[in-house]
Subunit: 349 residues, 2 copies
Amino acid sequence: MRGGKLVVAEVPEPVPGPGEVLARTLACGICGSDLHMLQRVQRVLAGEEEPDTLFAFDHDADVVMGHEFCAEIVEFGPECAQALPVGQRVVSVPSVPRGDSRAALGYSDELPGGYAELMVLGEANLVPVPDHVSSEEAALTEPMAVGRHAVAMSRLDEGSVATEVPVVIGCGPVGLSVIADLRRRGVERVVAADFSEKRRELASEVGATIVVDPREVAAVDAWRAEVGATAGALDEPPVLMFECVGVPGMIQGMIDAVPRYSQVVVVGVCMQEDVIRPLSAIGKQVNLQFVLGYTPEEFAATLSSIALEELDVGPLITSRVTLDEVPEAFRTLASPDGQAKILVVPERR
Amino acid sequence: MRGGKLVVAEVPEPVPGPGEVLARTLACGICGSDLHMLQRVQRVLAGEEEPDTLFAFDHDADVVMGHEFCAEIVEFGPECAQALPVGQRVVSVPSVPRGDSRAALGYSDELPGGYAELMVLGEANLVPVPDHVSSEEAALTEPMAVGRHAVAMSRLDEGSVATEVPVVIGCGPVGLSVIADLRRRGVERVVAADFSEKRRELASEVGATIVVDPREVAAVDAWRAEVGATAGALDEPPVLMFECVGVPGMIQGMIDAVPRYSQVVVVGVCMQEDVIRPLSAIGKQVNLQFVLGYTPEEFAATLSSIALEELDVGPLITSRVTLDEVPEAFRTLASPDGQAKILVVPERR
């Protein structure tokens, strides 16, 4: 990302500092947030918007995006324990501690992200990838950790896993990872909704049991039919709903849709201001849980779940592109009907 | 409330139906919601706003407001069990089941609320007032139940009662009832904030241990000083904050103020649309719990707590007025600096 545009160019090779390793990227997923960030940077450079508060980088500098990666160790910087061998395949949370702050890999003007051949990772963050897990599957650790975290932050617990019928709105990679993790946790029935036929198919593949096109039936009505609830009845049970779309109006739409005492977990990242009517949320005593990212523990556990085949990430990978094809892939994902996760494979092996 | 104005007038005596009792009002608190409702009805009648979704009544009909009352039984309608004697003082949730729906006392065009000499109550809802509890204290059951419910819906639990230092924003009757209930639950330290000196005094009287004027110090900074937290530090603990103001902008203000993983319990009722920035809530993984009212169990338990002197409601009663003085009391409460709860006493005894 250079001056608000995607370019494929040579940049200086990154140099690992103390406690850091140089790694070769093997596969890196394209995240919807990257598309949003590109648009945001364009608006900031055009003076239409303030810079991002979550990620601070020089908008005029080169930024190599990509934060869902699998890489292999090329060499160790100074002061490394070197517990893993050179050549070991690893994943890592996309963050490198540097002094008092940290570089957010993929949204940093200091270190490159995964849409590059070489990266610098923090040695302490490395999680080795078992041999039987492909690099492409391992690159799905990051987006799948997002779903795991969202489910962990919801009010689903051991007592409710057997009976809860959660509803997932939006079946892009985020929604799919939520569905997959709900099933991994032992939830037997999941309602999912998406306008795209391909994404509805993927939702079924990762474990949604009732999948609807919102143009035909509202997700909450499909849920009511499944649990035998009547809209507005005094004994209508609450629903656990995951908002995985992230555009203005979705939060109020969820508040309007759900029964009283429901929880809406906001996983979709809405970058713009949004309007809500508090009175409707108050009347229903709704709980809104906003979530972001995952803990390092959840990240490592997600790779384990992939390795143990508790999570089948294969269906999520819908395309592979080379570095040269990244700008075109961004255009494809702007209308993502047929796609879930596009993997960037800098150097096929 | 007649045609969007408060008038003092004779209206037909209400007649108790099956399972209902006629009761004489002894004391009834004026609620901030009544002031909001009067303004709302004026806007609806002026064609500036849609009618309320929470309470449906004919805006052209007479509505006797008042839903925080203590009354005494005058006579029983048909089909009553009559377990309580005539003359027994009672409180009741402000709702009377009628056929398939219920009349919301105070916001009904069918039955009068407590700003009248006579009311009709549902026999099954009656909670007898112990002799040693004054009618004025008993009338505080309803607003105190609001605080009890808000605390019950928060994430405060037995494990965290000893260590949590909750923050209460706004020390009107709602905020005061939250503070009092937090102390009743065993919380040792409560931070409270209000612009009004009188209300800050009341906050101290009901149990707030750190009370601030937001013009001098932000409530969250007072909390940080109390718990030894540093703004933005990685180990900054989350806060449990109660929003008891209910005007546009408060919810985003709370999101901006709190550390990561905090819970904001929205108790203040904001009747207008409101703008939030989801990205900031997402970045902090905030939990927003909207609450309203209380359960019948919480209502009855609140009267018990008043009777057992677990809750001292005396400080909350700042004035008493007659029926004739209600319109003037509404004007006084429009700038409520010196007031908490004004009680309407239809007939002194």
